[in-house]
């Protein structure tokens, strides 16, 4: 399949998802521009993971429309673009070495075999894992394992990257390093990224835009106009982070009140 259409934006309109007795997504509209880094922030139970399940084609039972680069996704069908996914845990296959774990993803992708070696070299180098290609997952630290799952997600040459709280299980120091590395990789590859988190400052540091979800819809959106490359100790960034944090807490409290 040709990939001349380079628009890899996402457009979600009127998305409704119901579980028995509960409407998790209530007419959600969300647009992510091609190459944009959008962070989704919201209290637990606000439908973040449900949204990712729908967008990645795992959950076909919804109403509303989902488009990738203008191409519609049929409900119950696969997304019309290639998606790379990072989970909260690395989710590596423990009986395969680091490199074989990446091969597992490649084998199920459209990437021609002739390019595998070059792709792996590139991303193993980019994440600093060259020396660990023959290690088994249990021999890697938490941060390294998550880097490896980043290699796996990037190796299939995704048009879009979905990240579901990928750094929330790591210690803060490791998480910081990984965030910086992720931004480097993003700058180099220009992927469209949808990043879910419940950490306001992480969202602010990473995103072009932070979308705060609540009660199945968007409560607020904050564009982070701090120029890149960003610095953790940047006062301007911290200011935006405070606003984001306040909005997030408001949303969480509103959701809390709803429940009672």
């Amino acid at each position: 399949m040709s990939r001349e259409a380079t628009d890899n934006g996402i457009r979600v309109e009127g998305l409704i998802k119901e579980f028995p007795g509960q409407r998790v997504l209530d007419g959600l509209d969300l647009t992510v521009a091609d190459g944009e880094f959008v962070c989704l922030l919201g209290p637990s139970g606000c439908g973040k993971s449900t949204l990712l399940n729908i967008l990645s084609g795992l959950d076909g039972d919804y109403r509303g429309s989902v488009r990738f680069g203008g191409q519609p996704m049929a409900p119950g069908g696969k997304p019309p673009v290639t998606i790379g996914y990072l989970f909260q845990e690395p989710r590596l296959l423990p009986w395969l070495t680091a490199e074989r774990n990446v091969d597992f993803a490649l084998e199920n992708s459209r990437v021609p075999r002739a390019r595998w070696a070059a792709i792996k070299d590139r991303y193993f180098a980019l994440t600093g894992l060259q020396a660990f290609r023959h290690y088994y997952p249990h021999q890697l630290s938490g941060g390294m394992a998550q880097r490896l799952s980043l290699v796996r997600a990037l190796a299939i040459e995704p048009d879009v990257l979905f990240m579901d709280e990928p750094f929330s299980g790591l210690d803060e120091l490791t998480a910081r390093r990984l965030r910086v590395d992720l931004l480097d990789i993003w700058r180099e590859t220009g992927k469209t990224i949808l990043f879910i988190t419940h950490n306001s400052y992480e969202a602010t540091f990473l995103g072009d835009r932070v979308v705060v979800l609540s009660r199945g819809g968007i409560r607020d959106q904050i564009t982070v106009q701090v120029p890149r490359p960003r610095d953790y100790d940047d006062a301007a960034l911290f200011q935006v982070g405070k606003t984001v944090s306040a909005t997030f807490i408001e949303a969480a409290e509103a959701a809390e009140r709803d429940r009672h």
Binding site: K78, E89, R91, L96
Partner: protein, 247 residues
Amino acid sequence: MLLKLGSMLAVVAAWFGLSLLLPDTVLPGPWETLKVLTENVVDGQVHEHLLATLGRVLGGLALAMAVGVPVGIVMGLNRFAEKTLDVWVMVALTVPSLCYAILAFIWIGLNETAAIVAIGLTSAPSIAINLWEGVKNIDTRLFKMARVFNASRWVVVRRVLFPQVLPYIMASLRFGLGIVWKITVLVELLGRPDGVGFQLFYWYQLADMGQVLAWTLLFTLVMLFIELVILQRLERRLFAWRPEVRL
């Protein structure tokens, strides 16, 4: 390894000590038993009976695995299957092995098929339960990972489910072997004209303790060999990727 050897020597020594106190018709010593065993081997009657028994053990184990493994996996993965089958697995487990043997011999006849069916069906429920418990522990989050990365259903089964189930299959193979060989001896005693079980019963009727112990010893040695040398090695090779090293 040294500990194992030491404990084995201690048991043999205790056997020897006890045999000095008791008459030979009750407990012959290790030396006498070994002598009877060697004579049997030289006579050439050992391998005929041993092969008959091992054939039944293998056949019965294969049948037990063929029935027990799929049932256990399905029960572990599917709630509906678990709810419908668990009572029946329990019932099948409760029925005494002697009943399976009698029923098989009456319904199928006094032949090899009946023997293997009886052995297989007796052990299948234990294997199913073993696998059922094991499969509950597998990491289902990996299935979602595989689906997100576009793996087909077949790829998920072969490359994500199977490697996780394999340790439990191996465990139930070893565990099943232990059950199967005990039942095989019983089935042979009941309805076969050869095999170790038949020999045990024959010498029991003649009240020849030397022969009874010789056949018991032979069978134990063969099973230990299969367990320690063949199965453990196979397991070690298959699960080299696992962090915890088994004993």
